[in-house]
């Protein structure tokens, strides 16, 4: 295996030494390109009490190519489908090598705070969200309680 680019090492180190509040990312012992990530649900959002688990993988072409990120925890969100796939522009077309793991994860956290049902991935959820936002948010809160870890008090 080709050695780990300097940049990845640098980013990893920084994630550990200077973590983003509410976000953790730890590389796997066997594969330094594979990260186990947790994101706290943003406050004032239906996800605020939960800690969501994600996996993040840095492809060989990183940073030319965006990291691959997926929710492991079940979540009710119009831009995240049943498999945990995320619909986020910076992970797709708007990726830039100037972005980093840290920025990607922050973007995801922001996505949790402000779902965008007009550009949905999970269509049924998005529909629900548009028709009955209160009901949808309640369902999201319910799912957070059901599936996500509880934030330590």
């Amino acid at each position: 295996m080709a050695s780990l680019p300097k940049r990845i090492i640098k980013e990893t180190e920084k994630l550990v030494s200077d973590p983003v509040p509410g976000i953790t990312a730890e590389p796997h012992d066997d594969n330094l390109r594979y990260f186990q990530v947790t994101i706290e649900g943003p406050e004032q959002s239906p996800y605020e009490d939960g800690i969501f688990e994600l996996e993040l993988y840095l492809p060989d072409d990183y940073p030319m190519e965006a990291p691959k990120v997926r929710f492991l925890t079940k979540i009710y969100h119009p831009n995240i489908d049943r498999l945990g796939r995320i619909c986020l522009d910076v992970l797709k077309t708007n990726w830039s090598p100037a972005l980093q793991i840290r920025t990607v994860l922050l973007s995801i956290q922001a996505l949790l705070a402000s779902p965008n049902p007009n550009d949905p991935l999970a269509n049924d959820v998005a529909e629900d969200w548009i028709k009955n936002e209160v009901g949808a948010k309640a369902k999201a809160r319910e799912w957070t309680k059901l599936y996500a870890k509880k934030k330590p008090e």
């Binding site: 080709a2 300097k6 030319m64 100037a98 980093q100």
Partner: protein, 1178 residues
């Protein structure tokens, strides 16, 4: 049988007689008259007449069968007459066996010789004259031509009076049948067998009138040679032109004797224009041998002075441009005539002496023949007025078998020096081990054998008498200029019966002739290899350095010095003008450094030699000195006056050349120059020149200088004695003072000219003969006596990596290729490709440069041999080139308008106001900070990136067909609209923005960096060698590699011709030191580092660009792949796809198969090159 005879008779007599019938009639008619005519001269009338009677019987027999009687007594009598010693019992047996057969006598005789020879070997007469008398009978039986029969029917006599006083003997070499033409009517018929004479019709005529300046005959010679009746001393007739051409030059000297006998004349009397047939017997007289044995005048006459040779060099018409004196002309015409005569007589050199001796024994019993002129065999171009030759075709099966394959495999040269050293004899060389007290290192077996050989060459063994084989090496080698000939059996008219008693030639089967110089000898001319020394031509990596030291240390000083106090040069061959300026007497003035060996090496190897000496030397008394010219105040005193002079003085070609130039340049050639100091002031005991092919061009100052160094023993070390052409060897021969080859005219005549005339066989034979005694070559493939390879090296793997062009390269390449193709095509179309040769070379060079890096264009490289002479051309066109590059990169420039550019610069200036701001630049892609200011790029939006990162991004986006946006602000960017910082100026602190042109990218460098990175990841602390022929490319590589790798990852070294000796040493030592923490990269110029260096510490090599000749690259690879290498060697060659480089590979391949050394002369080489050019552009 009779049919055949009839047939041949017809052919023979066609011109003279209507039918064969008449010839028979004629014969019987005249039998009576000629049979007894000249018998008064003969002592043994009876036996002769009997003999002829017998012969007549047998010969006529096939025609008139009934004449034949089976007379037992007659048969036995005949047998006994032929072989008087034959026991009667045998003769009776033979009679029983063969008496009744058709050609019984003949069969009986051959049977006798086959079966009874052993018993009677002592009786076999060894003189050809005697032999002839024996075989006479049988031959006439076998001989198909009646004319032969006729001749033999007569007995011979020998007119001794004819020979001049000085001539002590003469010996038959052959006979010709010549048709004469009567020029005067005769009253009486000419008698059969009457003796005639050949004379020049005009006695003294200036040679210049006969020959033009090129030695061709002007006048018809037939009119100059006349046949005289010796009895009445009146002219009878003339001979055909072709014969006259041979005879005329030879008639006035006594070297060749001619005897002429009339053998046929059909008319009673001759009227003008009638033809008659002569037998022309040719003899070599003792005079011709005397002259050469005294080794004297003729030789010196031909010798040319140095200045003449010089003039010849300027003149293509070698030797002919000089106005030859009459004497020279005559000598030459004589030589030519001799050659022709030998040709006519079918005297051919003997190739295998052993076989010839055997054959000689057989021939004693077989059929000697007279050779008729054979017109369909006549290939010289001036046989304008030959009369139709008498056609009985000489039956020379003998020569047929000797016809060797004339065609030559083109690969022969490649193998020839391998062949020169038959491995068998090598295996049998004893080993000599140098004493441990003086020589520290352990020699390999073949090196020990080599030491034996070298000591033999210096005849050290002869001195100590410890080895008897010492002198054998060159004792029996015949001088290849000379050819060995067998004396033919004497069948001259006169000699048929008489015994040549006055000369005891019994043991002389052979004589020797130098047909090129016209010298003759009875004794074998042994090749003189007086010089002590030779060529050690072991393949690279077999340890020639060590071998040389083993010799030097084993034998550090001249042991002869006590016995023969100083007469080194007098033992030399008669001093030769061509080799040195100084005369012998002057040589003797030079003090003799009898304890010192001078070693001349290329500068890059000086340290290595010095180190090796330390390693090898184990004796405290011996030491070495490196001579730089100035560092030793008086070399002469040091070497000759002090008690313990250095055993070895090491110096370089450059220093030798410098000193020589100082002392000799500008002086007249023959001016006496006494050098009081330096290398030329002493006569060394021994000189060793390393990489001896450095002097292959004898016209260079270095070569001349090296040739002028004097020593008793001279050695050449070279792995490649022949680089380009056979003539490369000449310089080595000249340096070694091998006579006579060091005279350029000899070399030209016997090697260059035959070679140019595609007479490879002769050229190689000569070269082989020259080199065999003095050259030792072993290759890595050779097996020792136990069948093991001499050297076992780890495997070597060569990989060719084919790469695409980078975009900029592609653009530029296409542009240049178009231009080049236009030139070549128009050149081909107009047929003046040769005239444009140098222009085309420049084109090719540029194409090759683009393949490496566009930045190379316009730089001139001293490493490019082809263009060394055309440097002007390269520089002259730099203006054009500049615009050319601009054209190629125009698209980049155009993407900025001037205003845009200025605006952008202004914006950037605001963002980055001073140099300080450049120190904190960050690349968001690799997150490195600060970015190296040499590698920074700015986007239009003012963001900074590493050059590498940004282009990686751009390539990636392009590959996915995604639009290009600034990674930082997502504004669209364009690869062609980037800025970089201007060249770092040492005087001004301010860095300038300038448009970035990606044309400085090279796909090879990109690939190389990747490879190196992989290597860094896989194994730490590797040493890597990178070869290129362009020193400018090395500069670029140095820059880009140091940028690509931080100092703690890889260290880059550069080694090229520009380094001083000290720097070289340092670089190599530093590079060789193992450092596991980082990679070491050595950038090596193919030319400066291609030879001699030992880089076994590295096992990875990268060849950045292909060279025309594969051997050069092999040489380079062998720097790594040589003795001492413990790892397998991996070589990667970078080649650009679909470029001139791929075609160069094909040319390399071709060269490998046909052997590039075959590019004999300049013209041939050029032609070959033209072919190559066509290949490149097809």
């Amino acid at each position: 049988m009779s049919d055949v005879k009839q047939e041949e008779r017809k052919r023979f007599f066609n011109d003279d007689l209507d039918t064969s019938e008449t010839s028979l009639n004629f014969k019987s008619e005249n039998k009576e008259s000629f049979l007894f005519s000249n018998s008064h001269n003969d002592d043994d009338i009876l036996s002769v007449s009997d003999n002829s009677e017998g012969e007549k019987d047998t010969s006529i027999l096939p025609v008139n069968e009934e004449i034949r009687e089976d007379d037992q007594d007659q048969f036995i009598g005949e047998l006994l007459r032929i072989i008087p010693e034959m026991p009667t019992s045998i003769s009776i047996k033979l009679n029983e066996k063969f008496g009744s057969k058709k050609e019984g006598l003949c069969l009986a005789l051959s049977h006798y010789f086959d079966h009874y020879k052993e018993n009677s070997t002592s009786n076999i007469p060894s003189s050809p004259n005697q032999v002839n008398s024996h075989s006479d009978t049988s031959s006439s039986v076998l001989s198909p031509s009646p004319s032969h029969v006729k001749k033999r029917n007569n007995y011979a006599f020998r007119n001794q009076n004819r020979l001049e006083d000085k001539t002590t003997w003469k010996r038959f070499i052959g006979a010709l049948q010549v048709t004469g033409m009567a020029t005067r009517p005769t009253v009486r018929p000419l008698k059969y067998g009457s003796q005639l004479k050949l004379k020049r019709s005009v006695e003294e005529i200036s040679a210049a009138k006969v020959y033009d300046s090129r030695g061709r005959k002007k006048a018809s010679m037939a009119s100059l040679v006349r046949i005289f009746d010796s009895q009445y001393n009146r002219e009878i007739g003339r001979v055909p032109e072709d014969i006259a051409q041979i005879l005329y030059p030879l008639l006035n000297s006594n070297e060749i004797g001619f005897e002429v006998t009339l053998i046929f004349c059909d008319n009673k009397r001759l009227s003008i224009g009638d033809s008659f047939i002569l037998q022309l017997d040719c003899f070599l007289t003792s005079i011709i041998f005397e002259e050469s044995s005294s080794d004297g005048q003729s030789f010196t006459k031909r010798r040319r002075t140095e200045r003449e040779i010089k003039r010849e060099k300027d003149n293509k018409n070698f030797g002919r441009s000089l106005a030859e004196t009459d004497e020279e002309l005559e000598n030459r015409s004589k030589r030519l005539a001799l050659l022709k005569l030998f040709d006519k007589l079918k005297l051919k050199p003997i190739l295998d002496e052993q076989k010839a001796i055997e054959r000689h024994k057989i021939e004693l019993s077989s059929d000697p023949e007279i050779i008729d002129i054979d017109d369909d065999n006549d290939d010289d171009d001036d046989n304008d007025d030959i009369r139709p030759g008498q056609a009985a075709k000489a039956r020379d099966n003998l020569w047929d078998t000797q016809h060797e394959e004339e065609t030559m495999n083109l690969n022969q040269l490649k193998t020839f020096y391998k062949a020169a050293q038959s491995s068998e004899s090598l295996k049998n060389l004893p080993e000599t081990e140098p004493s441990r007290d003086i020589f520290k290192l352990e020699l390999r077996n073949y090196q020990k054998q080599g030491l034996t050989w070298m000591l033999r060459r210096e005849q050290e063994f002869a001195k100590t008498a410890s080895d008897k084989g010492a002198s054998e090496t060159d004792a029996n080698v015949i001088n290849p200029l000379w050819k060995q000939f067998k004396w033919p059996t004497d069948m001259s008219w006169a000699a048929q019966k008489t015994q040549n008693d006055h000369l005891n030639l019994e043991d002389d089967i052979f004589f020797y002739a130098n047909l090129h110089s016209g010298e003759f000898s009875l004794t074998k001319p042994v090749l003189k290899t007086m010089i002590k020394g030779g060529i050690l031509s072991d393949e690279m990596g077999l340890g020639k350095t060590i071998a040389a030291y083993s010799l030097i240390l084993s034998c550090p000083c001249d042991s002869d010095i006590d016995r023969t106090p100083y007469d080194v040069e007098s033992t030399d061959i008669p001093d030769d003008v061509s080799s040195t300026f100084k005369t012998s007497s002057q040589n003797n003035k030079k003090p003799y450094a009898s304890k010192t060996t001078l070693i001349v090496v290329p500068m890059s190897l000086l340290t290595q030699w010095s180190n090796e000496f330390m390693k090898a030397n184990n004796s405290p008394d011996m030491y070495h000195e490196v001579y730089y010219g100035g560092n030793v105040s008086s070399l002469k005193t040091l070497l000759t006056k002090t008690k313990n002079p250095p055993t070895v003085v090491l110096t370089t070609y450059g220093i030798v050349q410098n000193e020589w130039t100082k002392h000799f340049k500008g002086r007249m050639i023959d001016e006496d120059v006494t050098v009081s100091s330096g290398l030329f002031s002493v006569n060394f005991y021994r000189i060793v020149i390393d990489e001896g092919h450095n002097i292959r061009n004898r016209m260079t100052v270095t070569s001349k200088a090296v040739m002028d160094l004097q020593a008793k023993c001279k050695w050449v070390l070279t792995g490649t004695p022949i680089i380009n052409r056979l003539d490369d060897l000449y310089s080595l021969v000249k340096f070694l003072e091998l006579d006579p080859w060091r005279q350029i005219n000899y070399w030209k005549t016997f090697v260059s000219t035959p070679f140019e005339n595609k007479n490879y066989k002769q050229a190689f034979d000569v070269v082989n003969a020259i080199l065999e005694p003095v050259l030792l070559r072993r290759t890595k493939q050779m097996k020792d006596k136990d069948g093991k390879p001499l050297v076992e090296l780890p495997p070597k793997e060569v990989v060719i990596k084919r790469l695409p062009f980078s975009k900029a390269q592609d653009l530029l390449y296409k542009f240049l290729l178009d231009k080049a193709e236009i030139t070549v095509k128009s050149g081909i179309a107009r047929g003046d490709l040769l005239k444009k040769y140098s222009t085309i070379l420049v084109h090719i060079l540029r194409l090759r440069q683009v393949c490496c890096h566009p930045g190379l264009i316009g730089t001139q490289d001293e490493n490019d041999e082809d263009l060394s002479k055309n440097n002007k051309l390269v520089t002259e066109q730099t203006v054009e080139l500049d615009s050319l590059i601009r054209v190629a990169s125009e698209r980049y420039d155009n993407s900025f308008s001037k205003e845009e550019l200025e605006k952008m610069m202004r914006n950037l200036k605001v963002k980055y106001p001073d140099n300080k701001s450049f120190q904190t630049l960050e690349c968001s892609i690799c997150t490195a900070e600060p970015i190296d200011i040499d590698k920074v790029l700015f986007t239009e939006c003012g963001h900074s990136f590493c050059e590498k990162c940004l282009f990686e991004y751009i390539e990636f986006q392009k590959g996915k067909n995604l639009c290009l946006k600034c990674p930082n602000c997502r504004k669209p960017i364009d690869a062609c609209r980037l800025l970089t910082l201007g060249p770092q100026n040492s005087t001004s602190e301010n860095l300038e923005f300038r448009p970035y042109s990606p044309a400085s990218e090279s796909s090879k460098i990109t690939a190389l960096v990747k490879e190196l990175q992989l290597l860094q990841d896989s194994s730490a602390g590797e040493q890597v060698v990178i070869f290129s022929q362009f020193s400018t490319y090395l500069d670029i590589l140095e820059k880009e590699l140091t940028h690509a790798f931080p100092k703690d990852v890889a260290k880059v070294y550069k080694f090229d011709g520009r380094l001083s000796l000290k720097e070289r040493t340092n670089v190599l030592a530093d590079f060789a030191a193992k450092d596991y923490s980082r990679q070491k990269i050595l950038l090596l110029s193919l030319k400066a580092g291609g030879v001699g260096l030992n880089l076994t510490c590295a096992s990875h090599a990268y060849m950045m660009d292909p060279w025309w000749s594969p051997s050069m690259e092999d040489q380079a690879i062998d720097r790594l792949h040589r003795i001492g290498q413990t790892n397998s060697v991996k070589v990667t060659r970078f080649i650009i796809q679909n470029s001139i480089e791929e075609k160069m590979l094909r040319i390399q391949e071709k060269k490998r198969t046909i052997g590039e050394a075959m590019d004999a002369d300049e013209d041939e080489r050029r032609k070959r090159r033209i072919e190559e050019i066509q290949m490149l552009f097809e």
